[in-house]
Homo-oligomer: 430 residues x 2
């Protein structure tokens, strides 16, 4: 076990050099080293501050392409490498941590592949970063939904909807009993639909529906913007009685998110736009497991994980690993709600439930609700019925006999997915 005052980073490395030599190149570059021995670099200094290679475990060849510029010849080897960095090198600071565990190492010639897979952080980080303020339980409490999957949608069309049209859409969705509605990540505070106008019409409609039905959906307003503006956006939402804000984690950075968390009174819905730039090249980047830990530390109450059979590149196995990552406790807490989205339809409910084995999920359907032939309200009814059936073990086709909206959805978007699908091949180019 690493000592409490260390950060342990786990990497995938691929190299034409001896594995130990490549691992030491990372440890050197990211702590005391430069390309020549320099004055004042005493052995005592190195002993205290040098990063230490804890383990180098060779794995089977990955088949990944080489990164450009890699040195060495012969056979490429791959390994999982664990490196310990003394906390004293940077202190419990997210950006300074990143300088060490992810700074220049992606550029090292010694490596033909380099990916940060995971991070084990010492408790000192909990003192600076309080993490999610609401998480799963706080969100359920605000929604008055103590159990069951939380069901949500994204406003579609993504952009361009005039506020008065948004009003009608929100009314329809709220009356249909949806738990959660969010702005698209493309909808910030643009000239054609200022956030202040959207907040005004949405909160007014939600109040009206709440007065009639006793249920007030959570609406995540996208407050992503330059930081001072984002703080003002938050204050605007809060003053109007809004109950959630959305921030695109990568677009404001982990530091921007941590800064927001310090001045935020509402759950932060963490959107993952641009995460693909870190995750999609298998031989480079930052794995979702490490990425999501940083986002949770910075304070994300909800975090997008993608969903099964999504329209993007990830396989179901990868999505399930992301959902699991977000749900795994870290540093004794940091409870964040996984958000499943992208191409989600009623037919995916049984398989999603079977494979996640939890209802602590926020499942968002955009097109899968708004594209319902009976309209958005029918789309909500179909999703709700599908999840009720899935969690009670009822067959979707049987459930659809009592709920025409569900039958229509299955006819339009496809029926329940076969449970035995081979996920390993799920996302591969056919």
């Amino acid at each position: 076990m690493p000592a409490a005052e260390e950060v342990v980073a786990t990497y995938l490395i691929e190299t034409y050099l001896p594995l130990d030599q490549a691992a030491e190149a990372i440890a050197g570059e990211q702590s005391t080293g430069t390309f020549v021995k320099v004055a004042r670099e005493t052995s005592e200094l190195r002993e205290r501050f040098a990063a230490r290679v804890l383990s180098v475990a060779e794995i089977a060849p990955t088949g990944n392409a080489d990164l450009p510029g890699a040195t060495g010849t012969g056979r490429k080897r791959s390994a999982e490498v664990r490196i310990a960095f003394g906390l004293d090198n940077f202190g419990p600071s997210l950006p300074n941590l990143l300088a060490a565990v992810a700074g220049n190492l992606f550029e090292l010639r010694q490596l033909a592949g380099i990916r940060l897979l995971d991070l084990d952080l010492p408790p000192a980080f909990t003192e600076r970063y309080p993490g999610p303020q609401y998480g799963v339980r706080g969100t359920r409490k605000l929604l008055d939904r103590p159990e069951g999957v939380l069901l949500g949608t994204i406003v579609k069309p993504s952009i361009g909807l005039p506020p008065e049209e948004l009003r009608l859409l929100v009314r329809e969705l709220a009356e249909a009993g949806i738990d959660f509605i969010k702005d698209d990540e493309l909808m910030g505070n643009p000239p054609h639909s200022p956030l202040a106008e959207r907040v005004a019409v949405v909160t007014e409609e939600l109040d009206k529906v709440a007065a009639r039905t006793g249920r007030r959906p959570m609406y995540a307003f996208n407050i992503t913007d330059d930081l001072d503006r984002m703080a003002s956006n938050h204050d605007l939402v809060r003053a109007a009685g809004g109950t959630c804000v959305m921030a695109c984690v990568n677009l404001i950075g982990f530091t921007g998110l941590a800064w927001l968390r310090e001045r935020c009174a509402l759950p932060i819905h963490g959107h993952r736009a641009m995460t693909g730039v870190y995750t999609r090249a298998p031989q480079l980047g930052i794995d979702y497991v490490a990425w999501s830990k940083l986002a949770r530390l910075a304070g994300a109450d909800h975090l997008h994980t993608n969903g099964l059979s999504n329209k993007f590149y990830e396989t179901d196995e990868e999505v399930l690993r992301s959902i699991n990552a977000v749900r795994t406790p870290m540093l004794g807490g940091y409870e964040t709600l996984p958000v499943l989205s992208s191409g989600q339809t009623p037919g995916l409910a049984p398989e999603t439930y079977r494979r996640t084995d939890t209802t602590d999920l926020l499942v968002l359907a955009g097109g899968g609700i708004h594209g319902h032939p009976g309209g958005s309200a029918a789309g909500v009814a179909a999703m709700r019925a599908a999840w009720c059936a899935a969690t009670s073990g009822q067959d979707l086709h049987a459930a659809a006999r009592d709920v025409p909206a569900l039958q229509q959805a299955l006819d339009t978007f496809g029926g329940p997915r076969p449970a035995a699908r081979d996920d390993a091949a799920g996302g591969a180019r056919g």
Copy 2:
């Protein structure tokens, strides 16, 4: 020419689908589209808000590996694609711009390769983002160096140097006539060497040397940290009479940098730690040309470009392209000083000067100065002599006859690089 109210993004795409279809997938995902047609998505709305594919220019096959999850069969094609996004979709906001031009598109299955190459921004951005406060001219003025290459170094060892040792090193470097000294990016505000202590000893030494010699080098204190702390760090540096702060652009994000710029009185030395995660996989990411435009817009006065024959993965051609990118005026200004570093030695001066054809460069040598057998002061003298010779057309070996420190440097780090080196093969795995 695009209309003034549009952003034009240029991408490299690689796909097994028809090129037009893949380009339209980006435009759709990043503006009005979802995976099904939805209610309220009127043709008027699409007309006004949909991103438009301006051009699709097929290029020769790249040889890049496929990104995982790519759909389609047959032959992979590659193209440079230009897409116009209406500014009305997001307004002149850096994070909201990124949601559109770089949001989910890296995850699209339609693409086997996707890289943001360049961005053309409309003048509206200049109103929100003032950009570099000092740039090349402001930095020269602060340094009282109206012409010639600016010569700098990085404190080495990177971390662990006690403040009193730092004092001696700074004294030695300043007395040797260096223009610029910077903290390593690994040295933030750690427990073992608090920034306040470093600022105190460094500024005291610089004042003493300035009193003796009339020359005060610029010292870039690494203020990178959580944002409120970073602002305090800046105030600390400024109050002590410091003349430069360093921020790691990717670790605080473009929004964090823009936020710093608003409250910053000093030149911002923009470090590029972690840029490799965006640039190194040729089939994915954000090219340095686009990346550096965003960093300049956010206010970087200096921007690391890497140097020739660097210890990292980039070829000389790529480095020269980056230097050129930073030096190319954008939006009528945004003048940023390129910073060449990594493995820089006196022997590289003639070739660097020949190929950049400018002295508006800040050239940093870390090991190339501190690793000099005669010590850091001799290292500075050697670099200065080499650049004097290079810019006056003198042969380095001839210059070394009058400057023993230069001769020692050439003996230790290698002589002048042959001018005819083939750069295309420069960084390839041998």
